[in-house]
Amino acid sequence: MKHLLSTKGLGRAEAIGLLDIAEDMADVANREVKKLPTLRGKTVVNLFFEDSTRTRISFEAAAKRLSADVINFSAKGSSVSKGESLKDTAQTLAAMGADGVVIRHPASGAPEVLAASGWIDAGIINAGDGTHEHPTQALLDAFTIRRRLHGTASRGTGLDGVRVTIVGDVLHSRVARSNLWLLTTLGAEVTFVAPPTLLPMDMSGWPAAVGFDLDAAIAAKPDVIMMLRIQAERMNAAFFPNSREYSRRWGLDDVRFARLAPASIVMHPGPMNRGLEISSEAADSAASTVLEQVANGVSVRMAALYLLMSGDREDS
């Protein structure tokens, strides 16, 4: 794997292979010494053009557990008018000898531009680009589902027949997009539920069912329900009347949570708006995987860094 830019371009075998390596990485976390020498002497740059403490420290922990040196580069405000360009930043990092770049950027496609540019010859991991993709989030979600369903027998398995319902702001969600492509590649069936204003204008090419009614979606007893975060700025832009109405129609409140099948899994990529898209009872229940997702994120990111940076990267 040369870069990890999206899950759309990820094949099933490749995805399962990465998840299996993440299983090995998770085993490391249970050892007394939680560290592998794999990337000793290599430098990983966390290049964050957008604040995200959670994702950054997850990548930082992953890189450090693989013994890589980590440089955190926070560069808010990326356009030419605001200061240094993406090109100059990339060339600066190349000159410093970065072997891997983890990039978070508010512009969709920025990691792809970086990978195709020739400005830097490092492996690029997309840590979230605009409203496009967030592939490691989807991989950790798939990993989490697989572990809940198959436990220690997870290795080598996909998510065939697993019914996943993703609820909330699909329009602006890179998590939703990356999960759609990855989960369906792994054999899962994806349903999106959202207010019509928060769905993309044309989803005809998406391998997903789409609905507006959360109660109907819950009545269908999904195996997994994933609640997306509602960003505060959406509330002022006429996507829905107000947070109370959103919560009433599209929030996983206690009543809806009680109607889920007992074995259902409740997921959230965090950070949560408790009481808005998810109730505390649901978030803190045994069905919730919120903290597992955080732990698994480190394992999955270790796997991704390992695949991109250990040995010779293959040209993709």
Partner: protein, 449 residues
């Protein structure tokens, strides 16, 4: 060209195919087409062998961004004029979004003068509709109209005159001097932060959509306004199938509306946005295959009157970046004729006399520019382009004569090639090469401009 040629001497063009297909010799003298016929000769004339070439009336671009004054790092009136000449143009209309904005008589006269000084093409300034393109109050349209620049086309291009009352007033006011409002049809609220055509692809790529309805709703409003006040409306860079339908309906109703399509909207589709290469970022954005087909049909049946380039040069750093940060626009003067050839002639939808209409006669008429678009007639101005329709080339950086390298056609194979351009009786391009500015300046003063 022979280096001993005395500036101002006649030209004899031998064996060119006129747009209607007939072969003819032409003599150009004193800025005019002196003779058209067969077996012509003229003492002292410089002969150009045009065997196998088509002679077209000099092309007229109703929509060019020359960037001067204010953005000379992107283009100057000289370099933009050179790009135009290389593309076979003899006249360009310079859009008003300069700095300072072309919203006063002083600025439009300066642009006119710089165009005359360059001498490659007739540079006809466009005036802004509103002061500073701000959309608040009308610019001094009358002063620009009666200035030496004789402005007849007014446009806030880059911005839409979205206020319906202001648009109504502008349409009414320019009737006093036979002006036209060239509208950049883009409903601003529906296109906030828009990055590409809204549809399945924008949904997948996570780029904010620019919906077709944002263009179509403004055009629908404007044709109704034009009908109501009995004014002349021109629609810039039509890009959607729905817009073509609205304009077709308006024309059938007898509304005085004209419309343009750009070469890139006639050839390229939104699929090029995949990969996030900002050379393909343009406003209005590249659309679907169905839209391209509808634009071609509209141009073929006369719903769309003209092709105009929307030549929009940008410095490298404005395109060598992430998609959201990149500037909108493509250079288009140098490639326009080849692209229209590929989209319309090779597809059998237009012949060469139609090309002469949509790229010369009709834009000159809409813009009311003098000395242009009068066709190839004895006594008419010697504004001509010699085009080799059999040529084929991989379009490259060397084919661009302006400052901008932001062409979407780089490394694409395009048909045809402009081999010579004549403006006011002298060559601006000869043997496929631009003549140097020093030679152009040595041409007779009264012919230049």
């Amino acid at each position: 060209m022979p280096s001993d040629r005395i500036p101002g001497t006649p030209w004899l063009i031998r064996g060119a195919a006129l747009p209607d297909g007939t072969r003819a010799d032409l003599v150009l003298a004193e800025g005019r087409i002196a003779e058209i016929g067969s077996g012509l000769s003229r003492a002292g004339a410089t002969t150009v062998d045009a065997d196998g070439l088509i002679v077209l009336p000099g092309l007229v671009d109703l929509h060019t961004h020359l960037r001067e004054p204010g953005y000379e790092q992107s283009e100057t009136i000289l370099t933009g004029s050179q790009a135009a000449a290389v593309g076979g143009f003899t006249s360009v209309f310079a859009m008003a979004n300069t700095s300072p904005v072309q919203d006063t008589a002083g600025v439009v006269e300066q642009v006119l003068a710089l165009g005359e000084q360059a001498g490659y093409v007739t540079v006809q300034p466009i005036g802004a509709v509103t002061v500073g393109l701000a959309g608040d109050r009308l610019a001094e349209l009358g002063a620009m109209a009666t200035s030496r620049a004789r402005v007849r086309v007014f446009s806030d291009d880059g911005f839409c005159v979205s206020d319906p009352l202001l648009m109504r007033r502008a349409l009414e006011y320019v009737k006093a001097f036979d002006g036209v409002i060239a509208q950049h049809a883009q409903e601003p609220r529906l296109t906030e932060k828009a990055q590409m055509n809204e549809g399945a692809l924008s949904s997948e790529l996570g780029l904010t959509g620019w919906p077709a309805v944002a263009e179509e709703s403004i055009i629908a409003r404007d044709v109704l306004l034009a009908e109501h006040v009995g004014s002349r409306l021109h629609v810039c860079h039509v890009s959607t199938a729905g817009s073509v339908d609205v304009i077709r309906w308006a024309k059938a109703r007898g509304i005085n509306v004209t419309a343009e399509a750009t070469p890139h909207h006639l050839l390229l589709t939104e699929d090029l946005v995949r990969g996030y290469d900002a050379r393909f970022k343009v406003n209005p954005p590249l659309r679907r295959r169905e839209d391209v087909e509808a634009l071609r049909e509209g141009l073929a049946d006369g719903t769309i009157d003209i092709v105009a380039t929307d030549h929009a040069p940008h410095p490298v750093e404005s395109k060598d970046c992430e998609w959201d940060a990149a500037a909108n626009g493509m250079v288009g003067l140098e490639s326009a004729l080849s692209v229209v050839h590929a989209a319309m002639v090779e597809s059998g939808m237009l012949g060469w006399s139609d090309i002469a209409r949509v790229l010369s006669a009709a834009p000159a008429r809409i813009g009311r520019v003098t000395g242009q678009g009068q066709g190839i007639v004895v006594g008419g101005p010697a504004e001509l382009t010699l085009y080799d329709p059999a040529a084929s080339r991989v379009f490259g950086r060397a084919d661009l004569a302006g400052k901008g390298a932001n062409s979407p056609y780089l490394s694409m194979t395009l048909p045809g090639r402009v081999l010579a351009t004549f403006h006011r009786g002298y060559a601006t391009v000869l043997d496929g090469a631009l003549r140097p500015a020093g030679e152009i300046r040595s041409e007779p003063e009264d012919n230049r401009g």
